[in-house]
Point group: C2
Chain length 217, copies 2
DNA sequence: ATAAAAATTTAGATGAATCTAAAAAATAAA
DNA sequence: TTTATTTTTTAGATTCATCTAAATTTTTAT
């Protein structure tokens, strides 16, 4: 069994190491968890003792197969609870993170599987992120940053790089959400801002900063 | 804000002090929380410092108005989650206690109020226990132990003194649950066992031990 | 009323998770 | 390639919740 804190560390390392599961630095973890580097070092030793991470002093850390699985089971719980909060309790997608942050630590496999069934086996959370299965397996979709895509590109928003409330609220105002159809009608050289056709009917302009936080396919 | 452990202590003291909110002993709390008397003493001093309990060394403990309110808010969360688990996730009433024991510590007033609405403002949990309101107020119903009631008594089961899985499973077998109509058709002098008419159609016999764990009105 | 038993509290330790301050190692700059 | 800067780790404390063993207080029994 993992402690509350160990689960949070594993999840943070998982998120920080990205698609390619690269090594994560002590400072990066400290910043993500609002803690100090010294505390992170202690915990890394503890996680290494439990074979949850590969850790060599001064050389960063990465998840073992076991650690990655545990991390993904926490991610599964987090995202399923988010779906519950938005679909059933009618919260807005920018309000659910804090609550899911606690709910993800409820320990009961049967509970989370029943919740999964109750929600009708969703594949994605309200922010467009995929939900791992019972075994902690995740199917990865190819995705591109909207800021890297060429003019005339046509596709759908499938995920967000930033999921902070301010960004989510701004997306609400722009009427952008995962699933939206997007066509890049123009790209401004000067500042990288984009002119888009949203859902084949609405014309909008977004800054490069926004485009860098939207994944499309 | 209360810690996870403080919430558990307050709830235990609330349950142990009963209807009339009598003083609770250190040993009783230790037994209820599967901990040692020495640990309880430490915590009582801490709770007293926070004005959550009235505590005089060697003389037992009782909840202050503030402590009672906090305890009832935990009870509210516990019972609402139990309703969710049984009504929505289709768990049996004997399976939900452990999970609710964790869920009751999720900290978000708005979450629990939304859950309340989602469940259609239930008044009782799956075991027949009343659910306190947002302010931590509870309406108490008069109730009698089935074992104390005279022959020919007619009424309904409204709560259980014991809610352990074994007892709940036995009640399932007898088809007794909160809300059931009960008529006492005979009482055996020898061992206090009762002959009942259940829901005006089924005749059953229960031991005095069972009758002592059923509340009726 | 005194002695024995039970309940409760204190003293001192432990493990988990955190911190600050100082030392050591790795990286970047001159 | 030295030196300076940044990153990371160690050393030593702190807080929370727990424990065991010993000392107190209260309660019960003789
Ligand atoms: Mn969390
Ligand atoms: Mn999410
Ligand atoms: Mn609990
Ligand atoms: Mn209950």
């Amino acid at each position: 069994m993992l402690t509350y804190t160990e689960e949070n560390y594993l999840k943070a390392i998982y998120h920080l190491s990205g698609e390619d599961q690269r090594e994560v630095s002590t400072n990066a973890i400290a910043e993500a968890l609002l803690t100090k580097p010294a505390s992170v070092t202690d915990m890394l030793r503890k996680l290494a003792d439990k074979s949850l991470v590969h850790y060599v002093k001064y050389q960063g850390v990465s998840l073992t197969r076991k650690g990655r699985k545990e991390a993904l089971l926490v991610v599964r719980k987090h995202r399923l609870w988010e779906v519950f909060l938005v679909d059933k309790l009618k919260f807005n997608w920018d309000e659910v993170h804090e609550m899911a942050e606690q709910l993800e630590h409820i320990q009961s496999t049967i509970l989370i599987d029943r919740l999964d069934a109750f929600l009708d086996y969703p594949s994605f959370d309200p922010h467009g992120d995929p939900i791992p299965d019972q075994k902690g397996d995740l199917k990865i979709r190819k995705k591109f940053l909207l800021s890297d895509v060429p003019v005339a590109f046509s596709g759908k928003v499938i995920a967000l790089a930033d999921t902070s409330p301010v960004f989510l609220q701004y997306l609400d105002r722009l009427a952008i959400c995962p699933g939206c159809a997007i066509q890049v009608t123009d790209k401004i050289e000067f500042d990288g801002s984009l002119e888009l056709l949203l859902n084949a009917k609405k014309k909008i302009v977004i800054s490069n900063e926004v485009a860098k936080n939207l994944y499309v396919h």
